[in-house]
């Protein structure tokens, strides 16, 4: 009986606690949607598998026609080998800027086949994987740690090739 009365006596207090907790979390969640310092996964614009494969085909076609790969991906568009829309992910605002795909332009045909030529650095969804096209034209979807490994291998190969050619270092 006294326990029931105690609950009745403090029901206002506990209602207040509940409302207070809900209010603060709601304010935090609403505000965090607008802030850059929020910590939930933020989906980003990125090209899809068919787009990156189309870009890769155009790169290799350009190489076949010109003897070397394009300096920038937009060169493929000006050469008429690629639709510009292939360079940008869904949601692109129409303003030409940085393509949504990273291009390792230093890669050459005679480099090892497992070097990265094209890849994405951002994910459109949390369950997505990074898209990669290797130097032999093969396509793969990689987890972040595998992409990091592949990029490190690629940069190490190119960088050391430049070093051995005697092009690096202040004394050269």
């Amino acid at each position: 009986m006294s326990a029931e009365r105690g609950i009745r006596r403090w029901i206002g207090f506990w209602t207040g606690v509940l409302v207070g907790v809900v209010c603060i979390y709601t304010i935090y969640l609403v505000r965090s949607n607008d802030r850059r310092q929020a910590y939930a996964f933020r989906a980003m614009r990125a090209v899809d598998a068919s787009q990156i494969q189309a870009v890769a085909r155009a790169v290799f076609q350009y190489e076949g026609a010109n003897g070397q790969r394009p300096v920038k991906l937009v060169d493929l568009v000006s050469a008429g080998m690629l639709d510009e829309a292939m360079l940008y992910g869904r949601g692109h605002n129409g303003v030409t800027g940085q393509p949504d795909v990273l291009y390792v332009s230093a890669m050459r045909k005679d480099d090892p086949p497992d070097m990265v030529v094209l890849c994405t650095l951002l994910l459109p969804r949390k369950d997505a994987q990074f898209l990669v096209v290797y130097n032999d034209g093969s396509f793969a979807e990689l987890k972040s740690v595998d992409l990091v490994t592949a990029l490190n291998r690629t940069y190490a190969h190119v960088g050391n090739d430049i070093l051995h050619a005697g092009q690096a270092g202040p004394g050269t």
Partner: protein, 193 residues
């Protein structure tokens, strides 16, 4: 034995008009406000703790990137003909950095030191080293970077050729700056052709 009416009045169950007390609802309202403030403070503390943990992870990640950039410069300065290391493994092998420095605290990647057999960094590293680069590289060119996924794609830490490191919070700017590094590497390689 207390009067039942007194008890009810104390509990705030009797409206003011009936008791003749104009502040009959004051105590229940006060209890609600106390609860609201207490609950709100608890929730705010919880949110603040969560945020501070993530900010701490971002800061520790930036320290890692800065450490790698500094170690690259130290490697070049110490009897390597002023050349940058060929890969990140060289920094561990020659004891410029511990293997834990190559793991972003927010990523959940297991550092090499926790793996038996002392394997190479591949698979246990969260940072991309876009080198070795030439020292003629433009100032502010990204040399070490991580994938923004480590921090929920909200930001990515970047270490530059001038020794600086920064948090990049604009995804477009991040991809563009890494592409600039790629363009520089191409120009370097073309020069050696």
């Amino acid at each position: 034995m207390p009067d039942d009416r007194d008890t009810q009045e104390r509990d705030g169950d009797i409206p003011p008009a009936e008791t003749g007390n104009p502040s009959g609802l004051a105590w229940p309202i006060a209890k609600f406000v106390m609860g609201f403030v207490g609950g709100g403070l608890l929730a705010a503390l919880n949110v603040a703790e969560f945020r501070s943990h993530e900010l701490a992870r971002q800061a520790m990640c930036l320290v890692n990137v800065k450490g790698i950039v500094t170690a690259v410069a130290a490697y070049a300065n110490e009897s390597h003909e002023e050349r940058m290391p060929p890969d990140l493994d060289s920094l561990v092998r020659e004891e410029f950095l511990e293997s834990e420095s190559f793991v972003c605290p927010a990523s959940g990647t297991v550092p090499v030191s926790d793996v038996p057999g002392n394997p190479p960094l591949a698979g246990h590293c969260d940072y991309v080293y876009a080198g070795p680069l030439s020292w003629t590289a433009p100032q502010g060119l990204p040399m070490v970077f991580e994938l923004p996924l480590n921090h929920g794609q909200r930001m990515a830490n970047v270490g530059c050729t001038d020794g600086s490191s920064r948090a990049c919070r604009d995804s477009g700017e991040f991809v563009a700056s890494v592409q600039r590094t790629n363009d520089f590497i191409r120009a370097e390689r073309e020069g050696g052709r």
